[in-house]
Symmetry: C2
Subunit: 245 residues, 2 copies
DNA sequence: AAAATAAACGTTAAAATGACGTTTTATAAT
DNA sequence: ATTATAAAACGTCATTTTAACGTTTATTTT
């Protein structure tokens, strides 16, 4: 079985994590740190996305999932391939060139970028061997390669997609309140939404299922819990829904 | 100046052309024909998308535009990068393997796929040196490589995008009637739309500009011509539209 | 038992949509 | 010249959706 890396094709993963406590959308980044062997001068100290080269015998989707699992241990997370990046100079910032000297990789690499949606709490950053760290998408650190561009394009895609597909629920636990959903929309889109109209609209969706459960351990009136039914959603939007039995 | 081809990275172009006469959406394809040198047996006779390897010193966008220009002579056509395809066996159908023997290229090539939107009449297929030919998107011939998959994914993307961005106008001449626009929607989406409601909705858009012109040479009441104003559209949807001067 | 507050519900006007019927206007036929 | 034809264009009404608010309810804390 051949298992060789393709030296000029990679995947990069924009891991979006929603933090329900701070009500913020975050991106998981890895520190890129290099100091001179001569005088311990810090040569590179910025952040990059997680990514890796694609193997000869795997699909791009498999490649992205592998990279996510390697960093977080997580599988079966929602992912979307949103764009390929292939500018000839995408790896040629000043810091990149210093870094690359040390690493030995093909400067003419194109990358296929994915984003993943999950909850920040699902990743144990303290025990993470790559020292991965969450940053608010609206307050990113200095980024290497073209990763700032990649993150911003992922974010733009997410803003559009979250209004047309039910991917918002990937960022929340299985059981959530109406206000939880509103909070996610507000932090992703950077807008404020009228709670009364939002609540009415959401409750009327058949795929938002009322549960016989309420919040516990809150210091005011506990809110009703709901879940998202992927089954009902699928049935509603499959072709010929209206005329099928 | 280096100008080398990258042997395992290509772009493929799904060229969508709308034909106002037949009211149909078409795809521009190239015949892939090979016969045996021994006995003139036809070994391969199917169709493929236009595509080519990416050069070391060009961006992916430039690469796609170059490929389109090479085939059609056209520049400045609307294009969208919609997905990268990288399955290890994407070039390994029976016919592909026969073809590849003859052509000598890397079987582990990933391709970045674009679609273009234009009018069929813009391409002179009769004089085309690649013998390019239009096929209705709903009646495609046998396709090589993974190009059927690529076309279908492009089409799905187009169906979604045409409802949220004003790309429909890329498929029409500068001056068009309301019914022209309806025809495009109907043929892309495969639905029928109430003309009275559609007309009302479209006419009320500020960016659909009434012209002092009507159709000529039609055998019934000539229809009013309109144009799409990209400027007005942009202004309407730029941030802070409402509070800017 | 009362106060506090987030959760949940309700009201109204305006706008958008869906489903139709009717009128207009240019060309073609008489 | 007049009339017929048919697409183009306009109009109506009931229903649904949206936006912008005010009000009530339920639970915990004081």
């Amino acid at each position: 079985m051949e298992n060789k890396l393709i030296d000029n094709i990679s995947v990069d993963c924009v891991v979006f994590g929603y933090d329900a406590d701070t009500k913020s959308l975050n991106v998981l980044l890895i520190n890129r740190y290099l100091e001179s062997k001569l005088n311990n001068e810090v040569l590179v100290n910025d952040y990059v996305l997680t990514g890796y080269h694609v193997y000869e015998n795997e699909t791009l989707d498999e490649s992205a999932s592998r990279v996510l699992e390697e960093l977080t241990g997580l599988t079966k997370i929602y992912k979307k391939q949103f764009k390929a990046f292939g500018d000839p100079n995408r790896l040629m910032n000043e810091k990149d060139l210093i870094w690359v000297k040390n690493e030995d990789f093909n400067l003419r690499t194109i990358t296929v970028a994915y984003y993943f949606l999950l909850k920040t709490e699902d990743v144990d950053v303290d025990k993470n061997k790559y020292k991965a760290k969450w940053f608010p998408v609206n307050n990113l650190p200095e980024l290497g390669f073209d990763h700032q561009k990649i993150i911003l394009e992922a974010y733009e895609d997410l803003k559009v997609k979250c209004l047309q597909d039910p991917i918002i629920f990937e960022l929340l636990p299985d059981k959530f309140t109406i206000n939880d959903v509103q909070d996610v929309y507000e932090s992703i889109l950077g807008i404020s939404i009228d709670n009364r109209n939002f609540r009415r609209k959401l409750i009327n969706k058949k795929y938002i299922v009322f549960l016989d459960e309420k919040q516990v351990g809150v210091s005011k009136r506990p809110a009703q819990l709901y879940m998202f039914s992927k089954d009902i959603y699928k049935k509603m939007f499959q072709k010929n829904y209206l005329i099928s039995i």
